[in-house]
Each structure stands twice: as structure tokens, then as C-alpha cells.
């Protein structure tokens, strides 16, 4: 009797607790789902914000103009050619003199003479405003054309010239067009010309190759591009790939397969894990102290950046490789050893090939992390303004994330807010493609035991 009673109470208790347990589960599920939705919403806001600002910057206004290379303005001697009895140094000197002579040609006049016929309402006194339509770097583009091929003088070429940053901002409506004159950067007459040329199709919004092909610029803001930063990042990643990955993999193999298990290797293991958690800016301080002050490597050079990023990536690669090696079943090693393979043969003929997919994934993720790293680069002088594309890892350069930081600080906000977002999109795309490559490789090469 008493047993029945107690049975009943147990059942009652269970039934009574069921409600509470279900409520708890429901609460937990709602919380979990809520946090997923919240984080997705935050990412979506971020992406929408960046893309809505940045995507229009991939297109830029440019003007198609018939440019007449007026021989009355371009008065230069004949381009020197190397004489048979002339040393290369002498010839180079003559060529440089000729190029300097070309530097004194007023290409702005060539530009304004070519543009004024397109304007319906133009007075001689407004000449100085005409050049404000086109970004100032285009006069160097004209000079380079003449330098390349002097026979162009006297001819007319149809060229597409980038408009100045202020004109781009005005035509795209990135500035409030109803503002009074004293709050706008462009003079009224230039704004009217820009609108007129835009209406009759001389100025069009075209895909901006300048953004990808040009290095950074401050004197000709509309031609500022990512090429210099891209090449700088590329050199650094090359150094990371050739330095951090072989060293990391070799260290991991040694530690996992050959090293004795004792206090010393324990300490090493703990330190590698600690190293992976060190904030990246510390690697920057270290790089500045060791590579620049001690090894006397140049400032702002990708070689130093690459070395610093290699140090930073090394622990990631070691940890990923060790985890992969540990996941390979001991039976593989036992079988190889049983058939008479040496320890080295076992590792390199049997274990390592099976570990390659994991190592690749870990390395690519490490490299992607290095690509996005900014803080250590700021400390080794890579936040300088560099107006040329680096020719070697020893040349001064910036990196993609640093270029974003630099553009964020540019004083012409209306133009560079969009340009900065465009640079962020380019960097994000690179990161996404590296990460998808890692996932794809893992899927394709993965072996299941």
C-alpha cells in the first residue's frame, strides 16, 4: 500500500517536473536561436553598411576627350637613342635630361585646350577652372604617353580621363547638392560644366580600373588605388608562406614524432600555445626592435612585415599541424614500422602525406589571418604614404588593411568614405576566397578513418 503511494508520488513528481524541464529546454532553445539571429543581424548590418557605401565606389566618373598633343606647347628635343660608342651610363644620363625637359611641359594647357571645345558656356578668364574637372594625375599620364612614344606629338587621341574627386562626389550626389556655395568645395562654374558634360554623355560613370591598377595618391585623389598595397601584402604573404609554413610544419613534426616526452618539451608546448595567444601588436614592437634597430633592415618594407607576420603565424601552423598529426591513427605508424620502415620513412612516407589536408587548411587559415593583420605593421612604419608600386620586398610599401586605415584618415571625407568601403570589400573578398579554399581543400582531401 505504502509502495503504491510512493510510486504515485514519484510519478506525480516526474509529471510535475516535466513541465519545468520542458520550460527550461524551451528557454534555452529560444536563447540559442535568439543569439544566432542577433549575431546574424549584426553581421548583416555591417555588410549592408559597407556594401551600400563601397559598391558605388567601384564605378568612377570619367570624361572622354579628344586630346590634341599640340607641338606648340610640347616643345621638346628628339628623344635620345643609344649610340653604338656610348656607355649605358652616359645614355641614361642623356635620357634622364630629356625626361626632365619633358617634365617642364605644361600638360595642363593641353588638357584645358582639349576640354574647352566641349563646354557651351566658356570665357577665357575661366581657364584655371577647367583643369579642376580632371584629376591632376592625368597630366602625368599624358606626359608618360609622350615619353613612351614622342611621335604622338601633333596627333589627336581619344582618351578617357578620370574626373577630379570633387567632381565625382558632386555627380554621384555624395554631397548635399542643395548646399549654398560657401559650403561646397567646387566653384559654381565647375559644377555647371560637370552637370552639362554629364548630361550630354562626355562624362560617364565607368568601372574604376584606377582602384585596382594605381598605387595610392594624395596629389590626385581620384586616381588613388590599391595596387601598391596589394603588391605589399602579396610580398608579405609570400614571405609568410615560405618561412612560417616550412618552419612550422618541421617544428610540429619534430615535436610530435621525434622529440622525447619530458619536462623540456612540455615547457616548449606550453610556450607555443602561449605564443599563439600573444596580442599581435607585441610582435610589431618586437619586429621594430629586432629587425629594424638590430638587423638594420629598412623601415616600411614588406620584408620586415613578412618576418613579423611569419613569427605571428608560426604558432598557428605548429598547433594545427600537431593536431592533424595526432589525429592520424597509430596503426598506420605501427604497420609501417612493422614492415621495416625507419622512423623517418614512417613519418615522411606514410604519416605526412595523410596529414597534408589538415596542414594545408591550418596554413591557409594562418595566412588569411596574416593578410588581415594591421597592428604590428603600424609599428614597423608600414603606415607611411607610398606613391609607387614596390618593385621588391625591400621597397617601401603598405598593406591592404593598412591602406584602409590610411584612407579612413584622408581629409576629403566625401570621396574617401566610399573608397575606404570599397577597399574593405576587396579585402573581405580575398579573405573569403582564402577561407573557402581552405574549406574546399579539407572537403576534397579529407580522409575518414
Amino acid at each position: 500500500m505504502s509502495q503504491d503511494n510512493s510510486n504515485l508520488t514519484v510519478q506525480d513528481k516526474v509529471v510535475a517536473s516535466l513541465k519545468r524541464r520542458r520550460r527550461q529546454e524551451k528557454l534555452f532553445r529560444t536563447l540559442g536561436l535568439g543569439s544566432v539571429i542577433l549575431s546574424l543581424a549584426l553581421v548583416a548590418i555591417l555588410f549592408i553598411n559597407i556594401f551600400s557605401k563601397g559598391v558605388p565606389a567601384f564605378w568612377q566618373t570619367s570624361m572622354t576627350v579628344e586630346v590634341y598633343f599640340d607641338p606648340d606647347v610640347i616643345r621638346i628635343s628628339e628623344k635620345p637613342e643609344q649610340q653604338p660608342n656610348e656607355t649605358f651610363e652616359d645614355f641614361d644620363e642623356r635620357l634622364l635630361d630629356w625626361e626632365t625637359q619633358l617634365g617642364f611641359v605644361n600638360f595642363n594647357r593641353i588638357l584645358s585646350d582639349s576640354i574647352t571645345p566641349l563646354l557651351s558656356d566658356f570665357e577665357r578668364s575661366q581657364t584655371r577652372y577647367v583643369t579642376q574637372l580632371v584629376t591632376s594625375g592625368e597630366r602625368h599620364a599624358l606626359r608618360d604617353m609622350v615619353m613612351e612614344d614622342p611621335s604622338i606629338v601633333g596627333e589627336t587621341r581619344s582618351l578617357t580621363l578620370l574626373t577630379s574627386a570633387d567632381v565625382d562626389v558632386w555627380l554621384k550626389g555624395n554631397i548635399d547638392r542643395s548646399l549654398p556655395d560657401d559650403q561646397l568645395q567646387l566653384p559654381a562654374v565647375v559644377r555647371e560644366w560637370a552637370d552639362e558634360l554629364h548630361a550630354n554623355g562626355h562624362i560617364q560613370n565607368r568601372f574604376s580600373t584606377a582602384l585596382f591598377m594605381n598605387p595610392d595618391s594624395r596629389s590626385s585623389l581620384a586616381s588613388a588605388g590599391l595596387a601598391g598595397a596589394f603588391v605589399g601584402s602579396f610580398y608579405m604573404l609570400l614571405i609568410v608562406i615560405f618561412l612560417a609554413i616550412p618552419m612550422g610544419v618541421a617544428a610540429a613534426i619534430y615535436l610530435e614524432e621525434f622529440a622525447p616526452k619530458n619536462k623540456l618539451t612540455d615547457i616548449i608546448e606550453v610556450n607555443i600555445n602561449n605564443l599563439a595567444a600573444v596580442p599581435s601588436i607585441i610582435f610589431g614592437l618586437l619586429g621594430a626592435a629586432v629587425f629594424i634597430n638590430w638587423f638594420k633592415l629598412p623601415m616600411s618594407a614588406p620584408v620586415v612585415g613578412g618576418l613579423v607576420l611569419s613569427l605571428m603565424t608560426l604558432p598557428t601552423v605548429i598547433i594545427a599541424t600537431r593536431a592533424t598529426l595526432r589525429a592520424i591513427p597509430p596503426s598506420i605508424r605501427a604497420a609501417a614500422l612493422g614492415l621495416g620502415a625507419s622512423k623517418t620513412q614512417t613519418v615522411f612516407h606514410h604519416v605526412l602525406p595523410l596529414a597534408i589536408p589538415g596542414i594545408l587548411t591550418g596554413s591557409i587559415l594562418g595566412v588569411a589571418q596574416a593578410l588581415g593583420e594591421t597592428a604590428p605593421l603600424l609599428l614597423i612604419g608600414m603606415k607611411s604614404f607610398v606613391a609607387s608600386i614596390p618593385q621588391s620586398p625591400m621597397d617601401q610599401a603598405t598593406a591592404l588593411p593598412v591602406q584602409i586605415y590610411l584612407w579612413q584618415g584622408n581629409e576629403l571625407r566625401n570621396f574617401f568614405e566610399a573608397r575606404t568601403s570599397a577597399a574593405i570589400i576587396v579585402l573581405l573578398m580575398l579573405m573569403i576566397s582564402l577561407n573557402s579554399l581552405a574549406i574546399w581543400l579539407r572537403r576534397k582531401l579529407e580522409v575518414r578513418w
Binding site: L96, E99, T100, G103, S136, H140, I175, D176, L179, D182, Q183, L184, Q185, S217, R218, S219, S220, F242, L243, P246, M247, V249, A250, I292, N293, F295, K296, L297, P298, M299, S300, V303, T344, F348, L352, G381, K383, S384, F385, V386, A387, S388, P393, M394, D395, Q396, Q408, G409, N410, E411, L412, R413, N414
Partner: protein, 342 residues
């Protein structure tokens, strides 16, 4: 097989490192760092220099503030130190001493032009007609009142002077790493502060203390970064009044509204005429020992100061630099030619 490949790779990287280090002794590109006010002008001059003189490479320009740039400049002589320090104030005697004790004996001072410092608030807000004493009263820790120094009681500009807008006081000023700060303190704060008899009566150390101490209730924000950071402050807190360079204001006239100081609107014309009180010369400093070692160093300085680059109607003037007078320009060019060091 794999091991061999690893070994070759490791050897190759090691070898290339050695080659890199060996070639590191030479440098053929001018390296510049310093003031963020001078940075845009310096960058434009560098780019134009590279474009006009194909025989030299385009100089590389870094930031770091006037103080930071001069510290880097004074680290020593050699290929891994910078050649030129940009500064929005003259070098201080202790900095010059530090330079000399590190072996930087020849320091050539080059004045490049002038720049105005402006107070700006967001466009569309109340108009400010500031006097130096208004700014002092807005930022000081203690203000003179009824013959005593009392903790700053002001929370709105209208409380300071009824002609100012009834807007909460939030002032964004350049951090102490910026050369602009020194000029701001000298030409605005000290100027405004010394108008009070009570402070005039103090000795000069006590005057400095009384004038420059800032309130710590969060109404004065020191900005260590660039003017874009100050602009971001203005956009997040719409009551903020920020301190900017004239050229930055010119580039963002659609977002900013400039305040008059002592009744004068800041403009290039007013600064050249000497009417606008808050202006200062801009400089760069050349390491004399690097002239002749780093190709194009002297030529770059001459190019920068030339009438073509920084005179009236030049590209730097349109970027907001206020040109030197012709006599000043001749004098500076002679300093560069003769390598007259400080």
C-alpha cells in the same frame, strides 16, 4: 623527397634573408615622418617630386605627430633612420640637444608656409563668434570669478557669453603629441587667459599652471589621432566644437561650420594679411648628414619650397597651404643650398 624539399626551401629563405640584410645598408628613397598637419602637403610634394624627376624615387611619407616625428628623426644617423621630420612647430631646444647627443649634428630647418587653426562645429548648428577668453573659460580647470579661482562652473557656451549659442560645452582639442596643441595653447588659451587681471597678477609659472590646467569632467576631449577622428567626434556628439587645420576644414566645408575668432573669419587671405590670430608656420627638418647619401634629398627640399610647388597658384596652395612671402622663400632656399644647420 619531401624532406629534401623542406631543406631546400629553408636554405633558400635563409640565403635570401642574408642577401636582404646585406643590401639593407643602401637606401635610395627619401623617408619622411612627423606632423599630421604637414602630412598632406608633404605627400603631395613627394608625389609630384617623383612624377617630375624620373631619376629619383618617390619619397615615402609617414605620420606620427610633430613630437613623434622629431623623436624618430633624432634617433641617429644611418639608412634605417628617417631623413626628414615634418613639424607643425619649431623644434624645441631639448629635442635639438637630444638629436646632437645621438649623433645627428646637422639639422637644417626649412619653413614651408603657414597654416591656420580653426574652431569648427557641425554645419547647421549655432554660429560661434569666439574670443580667446571664451575658449579659455570653456576648457580651464579653474576660472577667475569675483576675485577668486573657482572650479569651472560652465556647462553651456551661453553661460560664458550671451552672444554664444546655448549649446552644451564639449571641446575636442589636439592631443599633446600634435604640434597644433602648442600653437593652440599659446595663441588661444594663454591669450584668453591673460585678459583676466587676477591671472596677470600671478608669477609666470603660476600663470602657466592656471591657464593650461584643463577641466577633467569630460567636457574637454584630447584627440591623439588625425582630424578625421575629431570629425568623427563631431558627428557622434553634435554639440562638439573641434579644433582643425584650415585645410581640413576647406575639404569638409559641407559638414563643418567655422567659428570666427576675435571677429575674423579664417581664410587664406585673412591669414596672409595677419588678421586671423591663430596661425603658425609649418616646418620640416633635414638631416644634413644624409645629404649626398640619400639621392635627391637636397633636390626634394628645393622642389618643395620652390615657387612652382608651394607658391601662389601652386598645387600646395590649392591643397590649403598658405605660401611664404617671396623674401622668406629666397631665404629658405638659400638655407637649403648652403646647408645651414641649426
Amino acid at each position: 623527397m619531401n624532406m629534401k624539399r623542406f631543406a631546400t626551401l629553408a636554405c633558400a629563405t635563409a640565403a635570401s634573408l642574408v642577401v636582404f640584410s646585406a643590401s639593407a645598408q643602401q637606401r635610395d628613397v627619401i623617408q619622411i615622418a612627423g606632423s599630421s598637419t604637414v602630412l598632406p602637403f608633404s605627400s603631395i610634394a613627394a608625389e609630384e617630386f617623383g612624377n617630375n624627376f624620373t631619376r629619383y624615387r618617390t619619397p615615402v611619407v609617414g605620420s606620427g605627430g610633430s613630437g613623434g616625428g622629431l623623436r624618430q628623426f633624432c634617433q641617429g644617423v644611418g639608412a634605417n633612420t628617417i631623413d626628414i621630420a615634418n613639424s607643425s612647430r619649431a623644434i624645441r631646444p631639448n629635442e635639438l640637444e637630444n638629436c646632437k647627443s645621438n649623433g645627428v649634428e646637422e639639422v637644417i630647418e626649412v619653413k614651408i608656409g603657414y597654416d591656420g587653426i580653426v574652431f569648427a562645429s557641425r554645419a547647421g548648428g549655432g554660429r560661434f563668434e569666439l574670443e580667446p577668453e571664451h575658449v579659455f573659460l570653456a576648457q580651464a580647470r579653474r576660472v577667475p570669478q569675483d576675485g577668486e579661482m573657482v572650479m569651472n562652473p560652465y556647462s553651456s557656451w551661453a553661460e560664458i557669453d550671451s552672444s554664444l549659442p546655448d549649446q552644451e560645452i564639449v571641446l575636442a582639442i589636439p592631443g599633446s603629441n600634435h604640434g597644433t596643441r602648442e600653437v593652440y595653447e599659446e595663441k588661444v588659451i594663454m591669450e584668453g587667459c591673460m585678459k583676466f587681471e587676477q591671472i596677470q597678477a600671478l608669477d609666470s609659472d603660476a600663470q602657466d599652471d592656471a591657464c593650461l590646467a584643463m577641466r577633467t569632467d569630460g567636457r574637454v576631449v584630447e584627440i591623439a589621432g588625425d582630424y578625421t577622428e575629431t570629425l568623427a567626434r563631431l558627428e557622434s556628439n553634435r554639440n562638439t566644437v573641434g579644433v582643425f587645420g584650415l585645410s581640413f576644414y576647406e575639404s569638409n566645408r559641407d559638414r563643418l561650420q567655422v567659428a570666427t575668432v576675435s571677429g575674423v573669419t579664417p581664410s587664406i587671405d585673412n591669414i596672409i594679411a595677419g588678421d586671423y590670430p591663430v596661425s603658425r608656420p609649418l616646418y620640416f627638418y633635414i638631416k644634413g648628414a644624409h645629404i649626398g647619401v640619400i639621392p635627391g634629398l637636397q633636390e626634394f627640399a628645393q622642389f618643395f619650397v620652390s615657387d612652382m610647388t608651394s607658391g601662389f597658384g601652386s598645387i600646395l596652395e590649392s591643397a590649403g597651404l598658405i605660401p611664404l612671402s617671396d623674401e622668406e622663400r629666397d631665404q629658405v632656399l638659400q638655407t637649403i643650398r648652403e646647408k645651414e644647420s641649426l
